[in-house]
């Protein structure tokens, strides 16, 4: 058995950019049976600081994403 870290944030279930809906509406509840096994740990998915986004992306991308109507 392997140890599995599951990274999740409640905002992922409230709205999904991918669907403009709630494709993850049933989470984390749908993981309930799995989480009874100590090998599986549900952990918070913290926000990535802008500093790290900017190591990969052009600085103009952040305001462009923030201005996106979706």
């Amino acid at each position: 058995m392997k140890r599995v870290g599951i990274f999740y944030h409640k905002s992922f279930s409230q709205r999904s950019y991918l669907t403009v809906g709630r494709r993850l509406a049933e989470f984390p509840g749908a993981l309930g049976p799995l989480l009874r096994d100590p090998a599986f740990r549900l952990l918070p998915s913290p926000e990535a600081p802008d500093e790290w986004v900017l190591r990969v992306h052009d600085p103009r991308l952040i305001p462009a994403v923030e201005a996106d109507p979706l």
Binding site: K2, R3, V4, F12, S16, L34, S45, A48, V65, L70
Partner: protein
């Protein structure tokens, strides 16, 4: 980033990262296709800078080409990026590969799950074994599932098979370390029924 850190530190062997927006269509100065920032490449940059992890093998089985990931890793010989999509391409150094799905899948003359799994396995397994990554990354989209927006006629059997493939390669090539990042797919019913058994398989395989 947190999932990648946990893998690098040995807190766990597998990680599954849920997302709020996609990543693999986000390039250096563009975004779209329901993707904002390239989560996988940001995690790679973070591990390199903070943990000295250098080599990454990415299997992208989202229904659409991972153009943003390709843009950001082009010219980086320490990232193997194998994308199962609609085009055929191999970079001169062999680390950037697009593999088209067989015609039979599109014509509907073969079992889609079997055709997809055979294609992904043949494309990724030998390359990843030879590449010897420090970390294996599976970009898992379920948009190719029957009835979703990238419908390829796939079923749960295919996605569980891909989980087994990713686990096997991680065990053989990267010390068991596997980061699975959720990609595309839109249906709540599919997410609810597919994702828990996929995560379970990560722990079992």
């Amino acid at each position: 980033m947190a999932a990648a850190e946990g893998l690098a530190e040995g807190t766990f062997e597998r990680a599954f990262a849920f997302i709020g927006a996609g990543g693999h269509h986000a390039g250096r100065d563009y975004f779209g296709g329901y993707c904002c920032y390239n989560d996988v490449v940001i995690a790679i940059a973070h591990l390199r800078a903070t943990r000295g992890v250098r080599r990454f093998a990415i299997l992208d089985t989202d229904a659409h080409h991972g153009d943003g990931t390709r843009d950001l890793t082009e010219g980086d010989p320490e990232v193997l990026h194998v994308c199962i999509c609609g085009t055929s391409f191999t970079s001169p150094d062999g680390t950037k590969v697009d593999v088209p799905l067989p015609e039979a899948l599109w014509r509907g003359t073969g079992d889609p799950d079997t055709l997809y799994l055979e294609t992904a396995g043949a494309a990724f397994a030998p390359r990843a074994r030879a590449f010897r990554p420090d970390l294996t990354v599976w970009y898992f989209g379920f948009d190719g599932h029957r009835g979703d927006y990238g419908d390829m006629g796939l079923s749960a059997r295919c996605f569980l098979g891909l989980a087994d493939l990713a686990c096997r390669i991680a065990d053989e090539a990267s010390g068991g370390r596997l980061l699975t990042v959720l990609g595309g797919g839109s249906r709540t019913d599919l997410a609810t029924t597919l994702i828990p058994p996929i995560i379970a398989r990560l722990g079992e395989a």
